[in-house]
């Protein structure tokens, strides 16, 4: 890469780490990024391995952990891990909400969990259940949200914007507000995992996304987070993530695209020095949107979607309206359909 634009900040070690705790789940989402199964693979890190890893992160001054999956609550030892790390870290948990009972919500509050983020994939049961593949999951997710709020656990709603739910985005905001959450996030659809095979069915054009986002009226008292222009940051400079098998992958959205090493084989901070990891954190990009750079102090937008559509790590992020340059986000490059995508120029290398 020869680009002169780069991120202004460099970290010597991460301050927050995403942990994809398991690749199992009780739902069958058609947009699943982890291609989850019901039964765990024997390759998943054991409880003791996770606890040792978390202690290691604590020793190296990591202060925040985001647990996701799969569905983290689907693995029976998850609460043991949560209790081990809450109050030592800012713990966030991303969940489908369906396994959160009032008792579990009280346990989370008691443990000192910072925030729970619940994926609710539409404003209507029919839409949510279509996307999750499990009838009744909408009602159970909302019951989980209510239980969390009743227990006093800071709770946020997440929506992955796609063709099935785009028309309900405003109603979804109203639902979030009616439930009593204070923050809600609308996320882009990433071309990873199971959703790649359904990309044509689910993906929107950038114009459709921007029109939907631009038309939203955020209810008073609710804060909306979104990662499109002018909030399209390049987060790589601060990102660290480990999947359920112990692979260091930088960011959950890079899970099929990079592999910086296994924490079973080397200390995590050795993977932090992988040349590609360092390159992505440096944030050298061909072009950057000045509005997004100003707001996020990082350049070029998301590297995962830039690479997925252009096959280059320093390419512009086509989800950014200022950098899209005619890229049709409904058409996924064919090389991205493989399990370990490599653009044609580098395939086999």
């Amino acid at each position: 890469m020869t680009s002169s634009i780069r991120n202004p900040m460099q970290l010597e070690s991460p301050i927050k780490v995403t942990i994809s705790f398991t690749h199992t789940c009780n739902l069958d989402c058609r947009h699943c990024y982890a291609a989850c199964t019901r039964e765990p693979s024997s390759r998943e890190l054991s409880t003791d391995e996770w606890l040792a890893f978390i202690d290691y992160l604590y020793d190296y001054d990591v202060i925040a952990l985001l647990f996701e999956g799969g569905e983290p609550f689907h693995r029976p030892d998850f609460m043991d891990v949560v209790r081990h790390c809450a109050r030592r870290f800012m713990v966030r948990i991303r969940t489908n909400g369906t396994l959160v009972t009032p008792d579990l919500a009280r346990d989370l509050r008691q443990a000192g969990v910072g925030t729970v983020l619940v994926d609710v994939m539409g404003a209507q049961a029919a839409t949510h259940d279509l996307l999750t593949g499990v009838p009744g999951s909408f009602g159970r997710a909302l019951a989980g949200v209510r239980a969390l709020l009743d227990a006093g656990v800071p709770t946020q709603l997440l929506l992955i914007l796609n063709r099935h739910n785009v028309a309900q985005a405003q109603d979804w905001l109203e639902l979030a507000h009616a439930l009593g959450v204070r923050r809600a996030g609308i996320l882009r659809l990433y071309p990873i995992g199971r959703v790649k095979a359904r990309w044509r069915e689910m993906a929107l054009s950038l114009d459709e996304m921007m029109t939907a986002l631009g038309g939203l009226k955020v209810p008073h008292g609710l804060t909306l987070m979104q990662s499109w222009h002018p909030h399209d940051g390049n987060c790589c400079w601060q990102m660290a993530a480990v999947n359920a098998y112990g692979d260091s992958i930088g960011c959950s959205y890079l899970r099929e695209l990079v592999h910086y090493g296994s924490i079973r084989e080397v200390p995590f901070l050795e993977t932090w020095t992988h040349p590609l990891y360092r390159e992505l954190r440096a944030g050298r990009v061909e072009k950057a949107c000045s509005s997004c750079t100003d707001s996020q102090a990082s350049c070029g937008g998301c590297r995962a979607t830039a690479f997925a559509f252009h096959g280059r790590w320093d390419a512009p992020d086509p989800f950014d309206a200022a950098l899209n340059e005619g890229t049709d986000l409904r058409a996924l490059p064919s090389w991205m359909l493989s399990a370990c995508p490599r653009p044609p120029a580098t395939a086999g290398s």
Partner: protein
């Protein structure tokens, strides 16, 4: 900075960060001298004192430090 109870992350400005780094185990007078040693110059001593006390008020109000009886402050775990 992570505050465990209730759990919240804070991004500190440089005044608050320096005050937090210096406060543990120091009496109020020792803390003020240490803070001024680090910041004057370029800051004027009065400006530095004001920044230190503003930072301590903020850290105290948000539960990131506690005042110890008669001795000074104690920083929570980051």
């Amino acid at each position: 900075m992570f505050r465990p109870e209730p759990p919240r992350l804070f991004t500190l400005n440089t005044s608050a960060w320096l005050a937090l780094e210096l406060c543990s185990g120091r009496s109020p007078g020792e803390l003020e001298r240490a803070y001024l040693d680090e910041t004057v110059p370029p800051l004027d001593a009065e400006v530095a004192r004001r920044r230190l006390h503003d930072a301590l008020d903020l850290l105290l109000a948000n539960g990131m430090i506690e005042r110890l009886a008669g001795t000074g402050w104690h920083a929570g775990e980051a």
